[in-house]
Symmetry: C2
Subunit: 383 residues, 2 copies
């Protein structure tokens, strides 16, 4: 399924030796058209990897014909040499697929600051091009894995059209390996503006609300390519809903697979004066290391939630804050509420609800617990 669920797309995933492990590490996605419309969202980190800089330019005209992706190296902070490597990847891909290099987006993921083994990459692109197939979506999804324990794909069906996609990442903002990469495809006949509007709306409330460890990557990229092969012009509302559904599904898979995590935590903020307030409070709670440790230990430590809320600029009265953990209102009016013993934290999924009692807006942010395994994975990786 994955990126080849929609008609008009070919994909492949191969092992070309970028990873020392010999695991698959290079993927191609090619749009056979008739349309080449595309949209993209990139990391807001000001230190951006060479492939991010390249893909942003390639997308400037709202068109993409192919994406080449590699795991095993982020090609970030690699200077002019790294920029040249990205250009070479686009050019080789274009040559192998009879396209122009400026129609090819490039995505890389892995360790920052290390150049790619370009002889293997260019040879690998030829192999990947040979293996392009309408059934290649799964192979592509496997080839972009880094610390992911499973490959991640999702599909949503519309009225005669389909949206499918693949993602890699162990928590969006948790990239020990620097990156969340997502490629979405559709055979709907939608122009670049419709794609862009749908993608931005979907990302805003899905990938942008995942905050696994507060660390923003240099490589995060989400692309949406449309082939128009269904011949159907989608209703914009239904199309946006489908893109949102696929993004939501993939985002939850990222949280579920975050590095070293033992809990998936949903922070739901309600009663906010504005959605911005709700998101600010949600992020602050989701990033609080002390709370994340407490929830790891199955300790419903609501004091740490209040402590995190207090660092924000959101509208609230400290003496009118309510907090529920897994539905038990352990904090009422900014003080002790129902007995903490009533909270059962044994399940993997935990919900923390904050009622700011200042309005009608709400937002949800997803995160994970902080574990010794997280420390181990992220202290052992590059050595």
């Amino acid at each position: 399924m994955s990126v080849t669920a929609a008609r008009g797309f070919l994909a492949s995933g191969v092992a070309v030796g970028i990873k020392e492990s010999g695991a698959p590490d290079l993927a191609l996605v090619v749009n056979r058209g008739p349309s080449r419309a595309a949209a993209g969202v990139f990391t807001s980190n000001r230190v951006q990897a060479a492939p991010v800089r390249w893909s942003r330019r390639a997308l400037a005209d709202g068109r993409l014909s192919a994406v080449v992706l590699n795991s095993g190296g982020a090609n970030a902070c690699t200077g002019p040499g790294g920029a040249g490597d990205t250009r070479t990847m686009a050019e080789h891909t274009a040559r192998q697929t009879d396209l122009a290099a400026d129609e090819v987006a490039v995505c890389s993921t892995g360790l920052i600051g290390v150049r790619l083994p370009m002889d293997r990459v260019t040879a690998g692109i030829a192999t990947a091009a040979d293996q392009l197939s309408p059934e290649g979506g799964e192979d592509a999804a496997v080839a972009i894995k880094t610390t992911d324990s499973a490959h991640k794909t999702a599909v949503a069906a519309g009225d005669g059209w389909t949206v499918g996609g693949m993602a890699k990442g162990a928590g969006m903002l948790a990239p020990g390996l620097a990156t969340m990469l997502v490629v979405l495809t559709t055979d709907a006949d939608a122009g670049a503006e419709v794609l862009d509007a749908a993608l931005r709306e979907a990302v805003r409330t899905t990938f942008d609300r995942v905050d696994s460890d507060g660390c923003m990557s240099t490589n995060d990229t989400v692309l949406l390519l449309a082939s128009g092969a269904s011949g159907v012009v989608p209703d914009p509302t239904r199309f946006t809903a489908a893109v949102h559904a696929v993004c939501q599904d993939l985002a939850r898979q990222l949280v579920a697979d975050a590095e070293g995590a033992s809990k998936e935590i949903e922070v739901a903020v309600v009663g906010a004066a504005s959605e911005a307030d709700a998101v600010e409070v949600g992020r602050s709670v989701a990033r609080n290391n002390l709370l994340k440790c407490a929830l790891h230990g199955e300790d419903p430590n609501w004091g740490r939630v209040l402590s995190a809320i207090g660092t924000t600029s959101a509208v609230f009265d400290p003496d009118l804050l309510d907090v529920a953990i897994n539905g038990v209102w352990v904090c009422r009016d900014g003080a002790e509420g129902e007995p903490r013993d009533k909270v059962d934290l044994s399940d993997r999924r935990i919900t923390v609800t904050v009622d700011l009692r200042s309005g009608d807006s709400r937002a949800v942010v997803w995160t994970n617990d902080l574990t010794a395994e997280y420390v181990h994975e992220n202290s052992a990786y590059s050595s």
Copy 2:
């Protein structure tokens, strides 16, 4: 030495049964004058513990005669009942020491959201008052410990006057127990305005630059009390320098004793367009969990430094960033510099230097590594 190094002060520290362990948990500091001038700095968290709210009001006139401190409970998020408990602590202290309650500051530290056992606290205040002594500074410093592995004191001598102090906290912004508490005393004859100016300048570049885990407490309090007992009016510059020296000493002790830490990390930002830029970058680097894990694993992962810099609004060009780890410039011009193998991270102290190459301003932020022990201590504490 501690808070009784300066003349005119009595102190005591006793075990009154707030802590189940039976360890000392209540301290008194009394200023015998002739002056009662004082200054204070409090947490900027908007969720503030009852003792913080009380002490802020008590200090409004620039005078304090005593401080009562307890460990074993933060009295934060405890509602109107908790506010009443703080008032009772001040009133009992005032009665035992022939003072007015509004001259008594209150500091509490420990778990958030739990009421104090007030029968034990009030009985304990009487015991502590009985034991007040000009040699009681060490006992007071011991009685305010929570997860601190050692009590923390420091002293600086001026021209005929002395500044001394005590601190508790396992990293300023790392309070598993919600709090850094600091009480400084001096026998210099300085008015409230001089004290306030000296304290704010000292705190700004010491306690405010310690960022152990990015979590801001509901109880953080730094107080400076002057007895004037030396009869010497200090030179303001020398006085500020002495207060700064004591704060710096205590701040370093906090970092050295942060929960579960195995490394003390100094993030030095130079070449910044402004001090604010330097602090923003320093904090962002100091709060990056991925970097803190890498340094724990003695991995000079400079890519994570750049990733953290990129999330700030500071003035810099991503292609003109230099980063040194323990003096080795592993990143030059935003890309790989000297070989990472040259970096020796075996010592407990690590320095990360960031050169933004955008100006002449600089700042230092101190933090710790992120360890499995931090996770353990903070997931096990309140359960």
